[in-house]
């Protein structure tokens, strides 16, 4: 039986892809982004950039992200884990 859950390798790819999306949309050097960095306070990603990032990820992975769920997310790592969780729920 095929397991749809994201494997470790997939998760790494996904992590890399999300960080790339953050970097391109927020115009930030990719190398400065890591799991523990604060999305708003350190990367300076404001609400409109967040929406652009969410729209991009929704479209690419064909998922629906509820903006309210992301309100309490503060770090890049938490955001990536949240996206993996949503993809796994599909």
């Amino acid at each position: 039986m095929k397991d749809n859950k994201i494997t470790t390798v997939d998760a790494d790819n996904l992590r890399e892809s999300i960080i790339k999306t953050l970097a391109v949309i927020a115009r930030i050097n990719e190398k400065e982004i890591n799991d523990s960095i604060l999305i708003k306070d350190e990367l300076g990603i404001d609400s409109i950039m967040s929406l652009e990032i969410i729209a991009n990820i929704e479209k690419r992975y064909n998922i629906q992200i509820n903006e309210e769920d992301t309100m309490n997310i503060t770090t890049v790592g938490e955001f990536i884990d949240y996206v993996i969780h949503i993809i796994n729920k599909k």
Partner: protein, 430 residues
């Protein structure tokens, strides 16, 4: 010799209910504070105009504790009207200790005699000519009471502000001014009275040099352009966009609604890193817009507001839509009309303010002549508090009206709809 340059703390609002709404909406709060708590860029220019042999300490009252017993030879303060009450407190403390104090900025420019009561010298107007003259006088021990700029400064000769004096980790948003002056003669605007109506800008090379300095300190900076209207000169703007793209900055600017008529220009704006544009719609009431500026420029654009908003936002650029309530054409019914307009047009960040007669403006003069000023303390001139007698309602009704509008346009359902709208826009354009 050591000079302390101080930017007094900014006041967001003294209205407790409104304060609660701001606190609940983190993005709105961040946006408002990026204005009210912005350090005066004038102080960074003053620092650049100061000879190198003089030590400068920049103190931002928003973050830094002021040590009144620290040794300074001179204190310089720059303040806008809402900061002036605090500016006087700071000035009085230093003067008590025998330290000479000078004050400049918007408030000092329009009310020099009041400001003089709290300091030794007052700077009236732009300081590029007068600060070097003052420093000479100060070194010679014979300063004047007033230093008045006698001409509009040639922006192509202004120095790069001393961004290096800002504490890197404290500032997420960097303010950059490329021009001064605005051709729209709005009755309530204090800026045109200080900077004049003639649009003057730095050269592209100057701006590039400044961007390099900022980039070296904050490689991923978010730039807020401090210009009253960044996009007046389209050909200058296009050159600026080309350079901004190279730096890969994200940025915010203030402009007017005419920007929406040029689809190609809007796309270029987005490509150049523009995320948000502040647009002063001021009002959706014909009666009110009639009174704002002499050439009725905004009234002529009123019928195009919805399409213009759609044109800008459909490119993925959020509008900070600025509206004023309490204009003489406004009635209590205006509040609901404005709520409907904002909600129906899904404005990304609605900013509603109460008409505020800043000293030095035509509005202040008119209301004073009509005996309608309430003469509340300057630290209540926050654009969220009533400082005059409104024409068609009571002051309390106007104050409550502001709260009611914010409550309605920032309620959860309305905001969720706006966010969904933008998410769909981004899905379409990317």
């Amino acid at each position: 010799m050591k000079i302390g340059l101080i930017s007094p703390v900014g006041v967001t609002t003294s209205d407790v209910l409104l304060s609660h709404i701001f606190d609940e909406n983190r993005d709105l709060n961040n946006y408002i504070q990026s204005f009210t708590r912005a350090i005066s860029s004038g102080l960074l220019v003053i620092a650049s105009l100061t000879p190198e042999d003089i030590e400068i300490k920049l103190i931002d009252d928003n973050f830094d504790r002021i040590d009144y017993d620290e040794r300074f030879d001179l204190i310089g303060i720059s303040a806008m009207t809402h900061q002036s009450t605090r500016a006087y407190e700071i000035a009085n403390e230093f003067k008590k200790r025998g330290v000479p104090v000078v004050i400049g900025g918007m408030h000092a420019t329009v009310l020099p005699n009041e400001v003089k009561e709290h300091c030794d010298s007052v700077f009236i107007g732009e300081a590029e000519d007068t600060w070097p003259l003052f420093i000479q006088d100060f070194k010679n021990g014979r300063i004047s009471e007033f230093y008045k700029s006698e001409r509009l400064i040639d922006m192509s000769k202004t120095p790069i502000p001393r961004y290096d004096l800002l504490k890197k980790e404290k500032y997420k948003v960097i303010w950059l001014q490329t021009s001064r002056g605005c051709p729209h003669d709005c009755e309530f605007c204090g800026s045109s009275r200080v900077y004049g109506y003639k649009y003057r800008h730095k050269t592209i090379d100057q701006v590039i040099d400044e961007l390099h300095v900022i980039h070296a300190i904050w490689p991923d900076a978010r730039i807020n352009f401090a210009d009253d209207n960044l996009l007046v000169d389209r050909s200058f703007s296009k050159k600026l966009f080309t350079e901004l793209k190279k730096f890969n900055f994200r940025w915010f600017a203030q402009t007017d609604i005419s920007i929406a008529e040029d689809e190609e220009f809007l796309k270029e704006l987005k490509d150049a890193g523009c995320t948000t544009l502040f647009i002063g719609f001021e009002s959706i009431s014909e009666n009110s817009l009639m009174t704002i500026n002499k050439n009725k420029w905004k009234l002529k654009h009123l019928k195009n507001y919805p399409q213009a908003i759609e044109n800008v936002q459909s490119k993925g650029i959020g509008i900070v839509g600025a509206f004023i309530i309490g204009l003489d054409g406004d009635t209590k019914e205006t509040f609901q009309e404005l709520i409907d307009f904002i909600v129906n047009n899904r404005i990304y960040t609605p900013q509603i303010t109460i008409l505020t007669p800043l000293p030095g403006t035509r509005l202040y003069e008119r209301l004073e002549n009509e005996n309608r000023l309430l003469h509340i303390p300057w630290n209540h001139y926050t654009f969220t508090e009533v400082s005059y007698i409104p024409k068609n309602m009571s002051a309390v009704e106007l104050q409550n009206g502001l709260y009611e509008i914010y409550e309605k346009v920032y309620n959860k359902e309305v905001r969720a709809a706006v966010l969904r709208h933008f998410k769909n826009i981004f899905k379409e354009i990317n």
